[in-house]
């Protein structure tokens, strides 16, 4: 069975740490990297070609929405799930418009995120 190759992007390190621990324990998921800012995300997508990107919208250097715009032009077969602590609903809507599959508002249930990653796995 091919593992889902997941790229995590979030600059909130404590949360990233816990997310990595949680997902690492899943047999069908492989974490291929963690990016702490927007530029890192784009570089790592090019380098690792992940199946799934867990994207934070509020990051230094380049925010999540800008990352989505860039990905949009790259014509990749990449699923993007937004996991973010945004306080404005309109940002969520914009992310969906820009191609994100789903938006998780922190604090989000990790199992739900897991389900989402698996749902379209087939």
């Amino acid at each position: 069975m091919l593992k889902k190759r997941v790229l995590i992007s979030d600059n909130y390190k404590d949360f990233v740490h816990l997310l990595v621990v949680f997902l690492s324990k899943q047999p069908d998921i492989e974490i291929i990297g963690v990016a702490y800012n927007g530029n890192q995300v784009l570089t790592m997508i090019e380098q690792t070609n992940p199946d799934i990107l867990l994207l934070d919208l509020i990051m230094p250097e380049m925010d999540g929405l800008e990352v989505l715009r860039k990905i949009h032009g790259m014509c990749l077969n990449l699923r993007v799930l937004v996991v973010s602590a945004i306080g404005k609903e309109e940002m969520c809507e914009m992310a969906l418009e820009l191609g994100a599959e789903r938006c998780f508002l922190k604090p989000a249930n990790l199992n739900e995120i897991l389900q989402s990653i698996r749902n379209k796995a087939c």
């Binding site: 600059n11 909130y12 404590d14 949360f15 740490h17 816990l18 997310l19 621990v21 949680f22 324990k25 509020i58 990051m59 230094p60 925010d63 602590a85 945004i86 306080g87 404005k88 508002l105 922190k106 604090p107 989000a108 249930n109 990790l110 199992n111």
Partner: protein, 843 residues
Amino acid sequence: MDISNGCTQFTDYHRILHENISDGEQIEEAERAKAEKAQQKNEGMYRELVEFSPAGIYEVDLGTGELLSLNDAVCNLSGYSREELLKMSPYELLDEDGRLKLKIWHNQWKGEKVSPLMECRIRHKNGHYVDIQIQGYYISRECGKISRLVVMLIDISARKMAEKVLRENEERQACLLKFSDILRSLSDPVEIHATVTCTAMDHFKSDRCYYCEIEDDKAIIRKDSFTSNLKSMVGVYTLSALPVQKSLIEAGQSFSFSDVHTTEIMGDELREMYIQQKIISYLDIPVVKGGKDGKAVGLLCIAQSTPRNWTGAEVQCAMEVAERTWAAVERAKSEEALRANEAKYRKLFDTSNDGFWWADQHGFITEASEGAAKMLGYSPNELVGKFWTNFVDDTWLDKGYEIWKARKAGQSNRYEIKLKKKDGSSIWAKVSGASLLNENGTYDGTLAAFTDITAQKAMEEELSKSEKKALALVAQLEKADKNKNEFISVLSHELRNPLAAILAGMEVLDITKDARQKSKVKEIMNRQTNQLCKLVDDLLELTRINQNMIKLKRKIIDLNEAIKGVIEDFEYEFEMNGIELEAKIQTEQIMLYADPVRLTQAVGNLLNNALKFTHKGGKACLMLQQENEDAVILVQDNGIGIAPQNLPHLFTPFMQVNTSLERSTGGLGLGLSIVKNVVGLHGGTVCAHSEGLEMGASFSIRLPIVTDSTYRVEKQITSHNHQKNLNVLIIEDNRDFAEMLCTMLSTLDCCVTIAYDGEEGLRAARENKPDVIFCDIGLPLRNGYDVAASIKQDIALKDIYLIALSGYAYEKDQELALKAGFDKHLAKPVDIAILKEVLKNNG
């Protein structure tokens, strides 16, 4: 007339004359014969001469009284033929006056050869009279005896006519001169009526005279003159009731009759009316004005209660009088109207609240109204003779000169200007200035009318101010609302992150059995919980600051020690984050009157920022030093720096967080606004500096220190003054100043309470009964004067020593304070020496 009788008399006179002459002459015979011869020779020549003479000549036989001969000229003069004349006596040609004159003429002759000249009239056959001049000559024919009389008649009617015209002209001139003289001095229309009619009555020797003013269909007689047996005709008459007169008056034709009984120009009804008024002969002269289609405007009437023929000269004269009367009445009327108008404007000028003044062409006031004087605080006389700039506010003189320049160029204008009163204060005035020109069209002066609009201006200004204030408030509220929304959005972000970590931690704990991993997860959850707690604390702190709920617990501290404590707290965290922290602290004590907890919180916030915004391997530095009377705490790092556009907003809560979506270091960014408020409460300042992004940042806190001298003063007072500590109340809404004063008073061993508004101050005074109150003047709720008055009225409080504190140090302010009940007035800033002095005197 009895002609035959007259003829006899004539003959008698000739005879008497003849006898007188014959008695007085003796002529010699020879001479006589010689003379007779010569006489006969001349006879023929003489006859011829007589016949063709233009003068009438006739010859009378003195003996018989018989008319001997006459020439053609006599026939021409008299209209009778030679034959007719030879049958009648020349005496018959004379009128009665002529005969009388002839008698006198004969008496005057006294036997001279040639008679004196006599003028008389002879009656022409056609009934007219002809003026003639008569001269007689005696002729002796026989024996030297005078026997015949030759009379020469010369027609002088042309000369007489000319003389008559001349005389009439002179009379008319004299009459008009007389009227002109009397009219000149009269200014009242009714008086003119009275005088004209009286003078005309006298001049025309009539017994009634009146003048009507004609207005449309009305003839108005205001005053008339009449002899005592007649009645006045003063009144208003309707012309259309007198159609005959009306049509003549309207046509501008005079109307007259010499005897009402015989005139045919009126019917019996009208005749009866005239008779009733005893108007038997009558002359009226209308005055017509307005050119070809003019209408009658006046009517002069002269009447008599006996028949009278009105001569042409009289009519002419009456016309002139009527004309002059009308002109005089009109002139008087317009003068009267002018006077009334002038009186009206004079009244306006004298009584109006508005001001008026006239200035001459050089700009000096020549006349000013009571209103103008009152407005400017002068008496009218004080204004006169002064140059206009004396009354214009100094700041408006340029504008004043500009207007004056235009005025001199002949422009009238309206404008608003500030005028200067006698006491130096100024008023706003709305001015209408008229440029006055003389007959040559050059500038001759100014008439200015002005209204005091100070109150109106003040109201407008107040209105515009409050409008601006309202608009600013609305903008501020809108901004605050927007900031609040932004803040909530950021707050939500900042709360969600630690919550997410805690929730995730719980889920990881569920599936983890590894004890080491569990411990790591718990550590994270613990840290995130703390983060949440700090957020909530910051929020509450900010709210407290915003609501001015922070109360400092101040005491004298050594800042070195406080800072050392903060550094110890942070050393570990810096080390953990791989950032070097350097501390440069003075060894000498820096004494501060401060709340140590708040102050270390403020410095801690700055260090926390340095920690958050400095890259691993970076460097931060905390420096403490004394600069003059200030302690300066400097926190510096070489971290991410601050963009120049963000520098001004760093300390503003909510503003700062606007851009914080780009940040990801956690925290609400409320730290700096808390720092600013805490430092402010201590009477200090904080400022930030950065060269830009990635250039590091530095923050410096500046706080007033307790100097050695104040410290010593404090010691002195405590050691030398063993009285009980003074209980002092400070009522001051400026918190910084209140705290400062509190610090100073504390060093003087006073027990200090602070109140921030008038109401609170009064309450505190009643509760604490302090020994001394320092009270600001401009306070919220109740001002200082009010507070002072209330305290002095209260028996329980009236012994409190009241000191006024104010930003103003004018004598006026001092007076006002003392009047309000204060015992002393101090101007801010207050130094400790003064406080000491004041308290010592009171103590």
